[in-house]
Amino acid sequence: MLRVRLERLLRRPFSLALRLTLLFGVTAAIVFPVFGWVISQSMEHHFVTQDTDELKVIVHAVEEVLSDIRGTDDPDQLAQRLDDILVGHHNASLYIATQDNRTLFASPAPDLSNIIKTAEWDTSGESVHRWHDAGTSYTIMVKSMDGREPITDQPFILAVAVPFDDHQHFLAAFRRTLWLMIASSIIVMGLMGWVAVRQGHAPLHDIVARIRRISANELNARLPPEGVPHELRDLAVAFNDMLQRVDAAFHQLSNFNADIAHELRTPVTNLMTQTQVVLSRARTIDEYREILYSNMEEYERMAQMVGDMLFLSQTDNRSRIEHVERLDLVDEVRALFDYYEGWAEERGVALELEGTATITGDRLMLRRALGNLLSNAIRHTPAGGIVRVIITTSDGDGTHIVVENPGSEIPPEHLPKLFDRFYRVDASRQRGGGDDGIGLGLAIAKSIITAHGGEVSVASTAGMTSFRITLPAPDRDRTEN
C-alpha cells in the first residue's frame, strides 16, 4: 500500500514548489560557502599582513637602536632601549643571539632561544613564519645581521615574535558565526523559495478557480489577460481561444439539435396525421398502397436529411482530409456537367466552363461540394440563362472556382446566412416540394471546402449571383497535412 503510494508519488513529476525550493537551496549551498571561504581567507590574510607590518616596524626599530648606540658601551642602556621598543607593541618579544646560540638579549617569555636551532628560517628579515611553542603560536620574523660593537663582533640573529593566538581565536569565532549564518541562510533561502513559489502560484490558483467556475451555461465567460502576470498571459489567451472554440461548437451543437428537431417535427406530424386519417376507416388496397408510397417518399426525405446532417457533423469535426489525391478540376467539373446536363437542359439552362487548374483534395467530397453549388446555381437560373464555372489560379493565393448564375438578386441581409443549415431566403417556401432541396446543400459545400482549408463566399449584384471557392495551393495544402 505504502509502496504503491510512494511509486505513484515518484512517477509523477516533482511539484514546482519542491523543485524551486531545492533549486534555491542548492544554489545557496554552493554560493554562500564559497563566499564564506573567501571572506575567512581574506581575514586571515589581513591578520598576517598586519603582523608582518608590525614585525617589520620592530625589526627596523631594533636595527636603528643597534646602529644608534654604536660607540656607547652601556649594555643596560641598550637593554633599556630595546625594552622601550617592545612596550609599544603588545606582547611582542625580541631575541638576539649569536649564531652559536649565545643569548645577547631576550625579552621575558616566551623563550625564543630554540629558534636558532632550526636553521631553515629565511633570515632576510622579509618574510614571516608561524612558530609554535608551549601551546602558543606566534608570528615570527628572523633576520641575520653582521657583527657589530658593542654587542658582539660576530654575525648574530635577530628574532621578533608576536603571538598569533588572539587572531586565531578571533578567526575561529568569526568562522563559527559565519558558517552558522551560512547554514541558516541556506535554510531561509529554501523556505523563502517555497514561500515565493506559493505566492507566485497564487495567480495560477486564481485562474484555476476562475476556470472551475465556468459552467456549460456561461461559456461566454473569459479570463482577463490584463489581470494575470505577464508569464500567464499566453495561458489566459490560449484558454480564451479554446473557450471560444468550445463555445462556438457548443452553440453549433445546440443549434444543430434545434434545427433537426424543428425540421423533423413537420414531416413526422404529417406522417402521423396522414396515417391516422387513413386508419380511421376501412380503405381499399390501392388507398393503403398510396399512403404507404406517400409515407415512403417522406421517409426518404427524412433519411436523406439525417444522412446529410450526419455528414455535416462528421465533416465539421474532421481535423484533416484523409483521402487526398490530385484532381484535374476540368475533369471534375465536366463530369458534374455530364450529370446535371439533362436536368439543366430541361430547365433551359446552359452550362459553361472556363479555365483549368489542378488541385489536391478528397475527390468524393469536392465533387459533392461543387455539385451542390452547381445544382443550386442551376435551380435559381431562369430559363435561357447560362451557369458559368470559372477556374483561375494565382500563385499567391491558390485556386479560385467561381460558380455564377444570372437570377434575381439575393438581398444582402441574406448573404451571410446563406451557408447556414436549413436557411431559406424565402421563408414562406419553407418546405417546398420535390426540387427545392432540403436546405443543407450549401452548408455541406461550405463544410467540405472549410475542411480542405479553403473558403467559400457569395456575392449577388446586378442580376448575377456568384459563389467563389478559394482553395489553398496544392503544395501548401500538402505541407499542412
Binding site: 404507404l292 417518399e297 455530364d338 450529370y339 468524393l364 465533387r367 451542390n372 445544382s375 426540387d435 432541396g437
Partner: protein, 227 residues
Amino acid sequence: MKILVVEDEAKISEYLRQGLTEAGFVVDLARNGLDGHHLAMTGTYDLIILDVLLPDVDGWRILQALRETGSKVPVLFLTARDSVDDRVKGLELGADDYLVKPFAFAELLARVRTLLRRGAVPATETTLRVADLELDLLRRRVTRAGQRIPLTAKEFALLELLIRHHEEVLPRSLIASQVWDMNFDSDTNVIDVAIRRLRAKIDDAFTPKLIHTVRGMGYMLDASGEA
C-alpha cells in the same frame, strides 16, 4: 439460389429474410456468429450476407475461416459505421462487396443480384436483348423493333445498366453511382430527368413500355409490362 444471412439484429434479419424470400431466394438465417460460422462452413450457399458486428464470433473471423478453406462463395458484408477501415479490411479479407448500414433494401437486392451474376454471364457478350430492344455493345448501337435509336454516351450507359439488371429495381443512388460516378445523394431530380429523356427515345413510340417507375424505390426495366 440459396443465401445465408448472418445478422443479429432481429428486425433487420427478419426483413432481410422476408425480402429475399419474396425476391425468390432460399434464405438461411443465423442470429449469432457461432451459428453463422457453423452454417457458412458446412452448408452450401450461393451467397453470404454477413454483418461484421456480431456479439460473439465477429464477421471477420467467419470470412477469414471461409476463405482459408478455399471457398469462393461471394460475401457481401454489412458495416455499421461509415468507416473506411472496415471497408478496406473486409475487401482485403476477401469479401466481394459491402453495404453501410442503414441501407435501402432495393440497393441490397441490386448488389446481391450483381454478385450472383458475376462469373455466370459470359464476358464475351456483345449484344444485350430485352423484348424487341437490342444493345450492340461493340458498336454502341441501340435498335428497337429494328429501328436505330441514337443515344448519347450516358444514355447508352444508363440503358445498359437497366438491361443488365432487368426485372430488378434500381435505386436512384445506385444509378447515379454506376452511370455518372456520383456517389452522393443529390437533392435534385437529375435521375428522373435522365430516365424521362431515355424513355422519350426508347419507350414513347413503342409498346410495350419497358422502363417502369417503382414508387419510392427507383426504376426497373421489365418486358412483361407489369408493375
